[in-house]
């Protein structure tokens, strides 16, 4: 086949939903062509229509309420208007898909082997079981699962998230498809594992020449992997082109906004940040001093080991590490929500408040914003707020103004707000009782990248205006670099390294810190 001729072309794809009285268009005029062996990225925020377009290409958008128009050409067939049987012939054989959630995309009751072999079993029944098994072993080995014999016999729950995603890739690649559609394949994974999966996709592309359509909201990943990128917003393609050109000279305003929203890690010295240098901090009295802390959930489930750190008034301390490293447990230990086995937690007039990762869960869905805000003010420890209903309402409105939301939001309920607005309300709710410590547990990781940037800016502003100390838990090292003065790097319930952000990022002393930074694409 001519390498220059596209193997897949999509023309004027439009997807409408007829769930409600008024039909909603989710994707407009989507055009795309993929050449053999090419890696194309689709980026955009949630609701941009990137996954829908990809599912339509794979023929997986089977909801009866979805109406598709346009043409999808693949090997002389229009996949949008062909018989189901024809479509099925391509699925898993010529076109494969991997999904975001490796936990749920494998059948928990089936051993790995048959799941990896499945597309061979379906599409190439002529292949005998011995050869099938051999090919499955090869596929598992080629995705870096060296212990393929054991993996073949395992059940999904015996494998880690990263291993499961590798199994998914092996299953998708076994029939040697021409196109692999990867829908946010790394989003649910830790940063070091993310980097491994991206490297694996690159290797597969180079060795087997499989074209990859990579869908992600993470622009830095797309930049690492893709040669060509498509930027989507509100169901439309706003920009398309060579990845480096798009990143260096974006032409559409939205692309510029997206790229600007990625927190940059560039050495800025002390001039760039409004913080106090480490030496000056030492002269001040910490509001929180933790020494030799061991803590966990009951007997035999000790999670934190020998944690020592100090928190000074007015600083933003970052807490970084992969999932399961004990970041959230440490926050809970500080708040007294988990049992402390040994060690000392010294608090000096500490009044903590918390912002959670998921603003959908942290605001009571049955109540209005006014109720939520005033409840925090009147019924809690801060309690017995003097003044009548009018004063309370005013305080609530002020709290909203602080997070740049209008007073009219008082009447609304959480379900009527967007994710970013909810997180603003959650921050207002945390700050309304005037705490001196704000613990923010992954406050931006559930949000889109442009909204992330807004919330981060808001946290910085609030620290400037109110002098509140912030303990920021985040797995995203770029976010930490952007706002924090100091950072603790955690692994397996221990602090690996702590110190000034500049020092840690540009002169890490521990190899694990270096690994983390490298995996996030930050090199000192």
């Amino acid at each position: 086949m001519n390498a220059e001729a596209p193997i897949l072309t999509v023309e004027d794809l439009q997807i409408d939903f007829h769930d409600h009285q008024i039909p909603e268009t989710a994707v407009y005029d989507f055009d795309l062509s993929i050449r053999a062996g090419e890696i194309v990225g689709i980026v955009g925020e949630s609701g941009a229509g990137k996954s829908l377009s990809a599912l339509a290409i794979a023929g997986l958008l089977k909801r009866h309420s979805a109406v598709k128009q346009g043409r999808i050409h693949f090997e002389g067939q229009d996949l949008l208007h062909c018989e189901r049987e024809t479509l099925r012939g391509f699925q898993g054989d010529e076109i494969s898909v991997i999904f975001q959630e490796p936990m749920s995309s494998l059948d928990p009751l089936m051993r790995i082997g048959p799941q990896v072999e499945e597309s061979l079993t379906v599409h190439h029944p002529e292949i005998g079981s011995a050869e099938r098994k051999e090919r499955a072993m090869e596929a598992l080995a080629s995705v870096g699962l060296s212990d393929s014999k054991r993996i073949y016999e395992s059940y999904p729950h015996e494998l880690s998230g990263g291993m499961r995603q590798r199994v998914m890739i092996a299953a998708a690649m076994i029939a040697k498809p021409q196109i692999l559609i990867a829908d946010e394949p790394t989003t649910a994974l830790d940063v070091t594992v993310q980097a491994q999966i991206v490297a694996l996709l690159k290797k597969i592309n180079a060795e087997q020449g499989t074209a990859i359509l990579f869908i992600s909201h993470d622009l830095s990943l797309v930049r690492q992997l893709c040669r060509r990128v498509v930027v989507m917003k509100d169901g439309r393609i706003v920009e398309e082109g060579d990845t480096e050109t798009v990143f260096l000279r974006p032409s559409h305003d939205y692309t510029k906004e997206l790229i600007a929203a990625i927190p940059r890690v560039e050495k800025k010295g002390t001039a760039g940040r409004p913080s106090l240098p480490e030496t000056q901090e030492r002269g001040r009295r910490p509001i929180l001093r933790v020494s030799g802390l061991d803590a966990g959930y009951g007997r035999g489930r000790q999670i934190l080991h020998d944690i020592s750190f100090e928190l000074y008034p007015g600083e933003i301390l970052g807490l970084a590490g992969e999932s399961g490293s004990g970041k959230s447990t440490l926050a809970k230990a500080v708040l007294g929500l988990v049992g402390v086995t040994s060690g000392i937690v010294e608090k000096h007039d500490l009044m903590p408040a918390m912002v959670f990762q998921d603003p959908y869960g942290s605001l009571n869905p049955a109540r209005t914003i006014e109720w939520i805000l005033t409840e925090a003010l009147t019924k809690g420890r801060a309690g017995r707020f003097p003044g009548g209903r009018q004063t309370l309402r005013q305080r609530a409105a002020e709290a909203l103004a602080q997070v740049e939301l209008p007073e009219s939001f008082l009447e609304r309920r959480p379900s009527e707000l967007s994710g970013g607005q909810r997180q603003r309300v959650a921050i207002a709710e945390a700050l309304i009782g005037r705490p001196n410590l704000l613990i923010a547990d992954e406050p931006v990781s559930a949000l889109d990248v442009t909204v992330q940037a807004q919330i981060i800016a808001l946290l910085e502003k609030l620290r400037r205006e109110t002098g509140v100390t912030i303990l920021l838990i985040a797995h995203d090292l770029r976010v930490i670099y952007r706002v924090c003065d100091r950072v603790l790097i955690m692994r397996d319930g221990r602090i690996v390294e702590q110190g000034d952000v500049e020092r840690i990022y540009f002169d890490p002393q521990e190899s694990y810190t270096g690994e983390l930074l490298a995996a996030a694409g930050i090199t000192g």
């Binding site: 708040l335 929500l337 903590p352 408040a353 918390m354 959670f356 998921d358 869960g361 942290s362 605001l363 009571n364 869905p365 049955a366 109540r367 409840e375 925090a376 019924k379 809690g380 420890r381 801060a382 309690g383 309920r413 709710e429 009782g433």
Partner: protein, 274 residues
């Protein structure tokens, strides 16, 4: 959400809700009418017109003792509804309280209470009600008490499940961090979030209560003669099924409409919540 807006959402979102609500309203109107007015006293006998068909004097005819069927329906539907509502009130309030405490606090008390509830759950509620009626004696208030107790387990289970789920959510943790007391968290933070489920449990429980009352009265241990209830009327008329089918048919239809109205409404609410 205000009650009005909630109603508008259900009305627009579910055909079942619309149908159910219309039937339910009609039945309730009929009962309210019965409280204000019956053509004859429901127990007054007209010796000259036993088992008569439709006539100008007795619009829907009379039963085997010459009592006016329309009057007995008007009053009997009210009795049945009253018993069902009383039953659900006792069952829902007690069951929700138990479920809320068990779900929220957990621990040994929860373990003990839920095992008892499980044991009660193993018996059909009508059987339990039979047991309690034989302990307390019959009559409408005793029936309400007996059925009410028999309905506690299902509510306790439902509400406990909801509380178990909700108490792990961040808004509850957050309220705890603010130092909000446990009782306030239970009834002002969590309870409003369980109302949807509670509402459909109440509506479905209501049907079972109507049937249970009818069953008890049919067996002769519910509402006592000469008072009317739908179950009582069915029980009395069964011997005359072929001579005067309307005496069985009319209370039966009313019973069906009552249950249909409430269960369609309940299903409609459930459907819109999904």
């Amino acid at each position: 959400m205000s009650a009005g807006r909630r109603f508008a959402i259900y009305w627009k979102g579910s055909r079942m809700f619309r149908a159910g609500f219309v039937i339910m309203s009609a039945v309730i109107l009929f009962v309210l009418l019965g409280m204000l007015f019956t053509p004859y006293p429901p127990t007054a006998m007209d010796e000259g017109a036993k088992l008569s068909g439709f006539s100008a004097k007795h619009l829907l005819g009379t039963d085997h003792l010459g009592r006016d069927l329309l009057s007995r329906l008007l009053s009997g539907a009210g009795t049945t509804l009253f018993i069902a509502i009383g039953t659900i009130f006792i069952g829902a309030v007690t069951g929700s309280l138990l479920g809320a405490f068990c779900g929220y606090f957990g621990g040994t008390a929860d373990e003990i209470i839920m095992r008892i509830v499980d044991a009660l759950f193993a018996f059909p509620s009508i059987l339990l009600a039979l047991l309690f009626v034989s302990l307390f004696g019959s009559g409408r208030y005793h029936v309400i008490l007996a059925l009410g107790i028999a309905f506690v387990p299902s509510f306790a289970r439902t509400v406990r499940g909801e509380f178990l789920r909700e108490k792990g959510r961040d808004y509850v943790t957050n309220a705890k961090l603010h130092g909000v007391g446990d009782l306030r968290i239970m009834f002002f933070h969590i309870l409003p979030n369980t109302l949807d489920v509670l509402l459909s449990a109440v509506l479905i429980g209501f049907n079972n209560a109507v049937l249970a009352e009818a069953g008890l009265s049919f067996l002769g241990i519910g509402v006592q003669p000469p008072d009317a209830s739908l179950g009582r009327m069915l029980s009395e008329s069964q011997q005359y099924l072929f001579r005067a089918p309307m005496t069985t048919f009319l209370p039966g239809i009313l019973l069906v409409l009552m249950i249909l109205g409430f269960s369609l409404t309940g299903e409609g609410v459930r459907e819109s919540e999904r």
